[in-house]
Amino acid sequence: MKLELGYIYIKDIQFAEKSKVENGTLYVNKEEIKALVMEDQNFKSVEVELAKPGDSTRIMPVKDVIEPRVKVEGPGGIFPGMVSKVQTVGSGKTHVLKGAAVITTGKIVGFQEGIIDMTGTGAEYTPFSKLNNLVLVCQPVEGLKQHEHEKALRFAGYKIAIHLGELARTLVPDESEVFETPTVKEGFKLYPELPRVAYVLMLQSQGLMHDTYVYGVDAKQSLTTMLYPTEIMDGAIVSGNCVSACDKNTTYHHINNPVIHDLFSEHGKTLNFVGVIITNENVYLADKERSSDWSAKLAEFLGLDGVIISQEGFGNPDTDLIMNCKKIEAKGIKTVIITDEYAGRDGSSQSLADADVSANAVVTGGNANEVINLPALEKVIGYTSVADIIAGGFSGSLHEDGSITAELQVITGATNEMGFNKLSAR
C-alpha cells in the first residue's frame, strides 16, 4: 500500500471574511466555523479562538488536537467510519495543512486535565505550542450527559478539521513524501537480509473518556488486528481519550505517529517495516490475556525479528504492556517498549505498575510526577479555575497571579508514550 502525503506548510493563522490558504497563511471565517459547530443541537454556544506560537496564551482544559487533512486521490476519506464512510484508506494522495491544528476544549466532567501554553516553560513540554491553532470552546446545552457531551465535542473537532483540510484540496504541496508498505510476500523478496520489524500500537480502551476508535469501531470491542501504517496517516484511528493529558495519544499523535515515521525512514535500509499490530487495553483481565496472546501470535505469524511496543496511559495499561512484551519475547522476537514514568516527584519510586525481566529495552517519555512552575500568561482560552482540580494539579496549584505549580502530567503531550516529545535528555 502506497500513500503520498503532500504538505502545505502553515506559518500563520488569521480570521478573515473568506476561509482559504494563501502564502502559508490559514485564513478562517469565524462565523462559518461557529455555524458548523452549532449544527449539533447538543451545543448551546461556541467560541472560536486563535493560539499561535509565542502568544502569551494558555489553553485549558484540552480534549483533543487534530491536524487538518484531505484525501485528494485514492479510496475513502479522512476519519473513515467516524466522519467519512467506511472504506479502507491509506493509499493514493492526501494533503496536509502542516503546522495547523484544531483544538477542542470543554468541561465534560468537574475534574479536568490538559494545558497547552503557547509560550514560556510549559510551551517547551508540548509539541502543540509550535502549531497555529484554531481552538473551539464549546458550551453544551443544559442537562447534556457526559457521554453525549464527550461525543459531541469529539465530532466537532473532526468536522472542523475536515472543513479546514478541504481548503488544501486543490493546492500544490510545498513538499511531498511517499510511504509504501509491500505485502508480506513482496517484503520477503525485496529485503531478504533485513530484520523484519513491526510496531505494536496499544490503544486506550477502558470506558467513558478512555476510548479509541478504529474505522469507527470502539477498540475495546475488537480483537488484536493489523493495519497498513499508511491507514493510520489517513485517520483510521481517532482518539476519544480525555484523561491523563501528558501521556494520552490525541488524534494528532495518531495521524503523525512518530514510531511509524521513524520505522519508514529506516525501511529498506536497516530494517523491513512489516506493518502495525493494533491491540487494546481493556480492564477485564481475560481480555488482556486474549489481546496479548493475539499480539504474540500475529508477531510470530508474520515471521518478525523485532517489535516496538508503545502504550497509552498509566496503571492498567502497564499490565498490557508487560504481557505484550513478555509473550512476544517468549516467541524469540526482540522487543523495545516505549512508556513514560510515574516515579514520584523525586524520581526515586518504581516507574511502572508492572514489570518483567524481558522488558529489558525501554524508551521513556519522562517522569510525569516532576513538578513544574508555569508563569501567568496574558490570555486563557477555556477555563482557568480548573487548575486546582486538574490531573497533576493540587489545592493551591493556581496562584493568585495566575501562575500554576503542578506536576508535568498537566501538560498535553508532555510525556507522550509514542515518543512525540519536544525535549530529550540528549
Binding site: 466532567v109 475534574f111 477502558q206 480492564v283 496503571g315 518504581q350 489545592s395
Partner: protein, 173 residues
C-alpha cells in the same frame, strides 16, 4: 390353543416392552437428574457470576439486586478496597479486573470498584502480583497528598467514571 399361545406371547411381549419402557424412562430420568446436578455444581462457575468489591455507592445501588453479582460494599477509601481485594486473593479468589483501571490516578479519585471471582480456588499468583503492585502504586501516589477540595458535582463525576469503567468490563463478560 393357538389363540391362547398368541395371547401368552402378546402378554409376554407387552410385559417385556413395559419393562423396557420403564427402564428407559428410569434411565432418562437418571440422566436428567445427573445433568441437573452437574449444572447445579457448575452454576457458581458460570460466566457472569462474580463478586464486586466497591466503595462507590452508585455501583452498589445499581448492582446490589442483580443476581449475577455478589456485592461487597466498603465504607472506606480506595486503599481499603485494594486491601480487601488483596485479602480475598489470599483466600483464593481470582482477580477479574485490573485494580488500577482508569487513567485517574490513585491520589485523585476516591472511588474504586474491582471484580473478583465468586469462587475460591488455590492461590492465584498472577492476581496476587497485580494487587500487590497496585497497592504499591497507591502508596507511591499518596506519598504526595493532593488535598483537593471536591465539589458534589466532581464527586459524582468520579463515581460515574468508576461506574462506566467497571461496566466496560461487565459488558465484555
Amino acid at each position: 390353543m393357538k389363540e391362547s399361545l398368541r395371547s401368552i406371547t402378546e402378554q409376554k411381549a407387552f410385559a417385556f416392552c413395559s419393562f423396557f419402557s420403564l427402564n428407559l424412562i428410569f434411565l432418562l430420568n437418571l440422566s436428567i437428574i445427573v445433568i441437573c446436578y452437574k449444572n447445579l455444581l457448575k452454576k457458581s462457575k458460570r460466566k457472569g457470576f462474580d463478586m464486586i468489591i466497591t466503595n462507590n455507592d452508585w455501583v452498589y445501588e445499581k448492582y446490589k439486586n442483580c443476581s449475577n453479582h455478589n456485592m461487597f460494599f466498603i465504607e472506606g477509601s480506595y486503599k481499603d478496597v485494594l486491601i480487601k481485594t488483596r485479602d480475598k486473593i489470599h483466600e483464593g479468589y481470582e482477580l477479574l479486573t485490573h485494580p488500577l483501571s482508569s487513567s485517574l490516578k490513585p491520589n485523585e479519585t476516591p472511588f474504586k470498584s474491582i471484580i473478583i471471582s465468586e469462587n475460591k480456588d488455590k492461590l492465584n499468583m498472577d492476581s496476587l502480583i497485580i494487587i500487590e503492585n497496585s497497592i504499591m502504586s497507591w502508596e507511591k501516589f499518596n506519598n504526595e497528598k493532593l488535598k483537593l477540595n471536591f465539589t458534589k458535582q466532581i464527586i459524582e463525576d468520579f463515581k460515574l467514571i468508576d461506574l462506566t469503567v467497571l461496566e466496560s468490563a461487565l459488558n465484555k463478560k
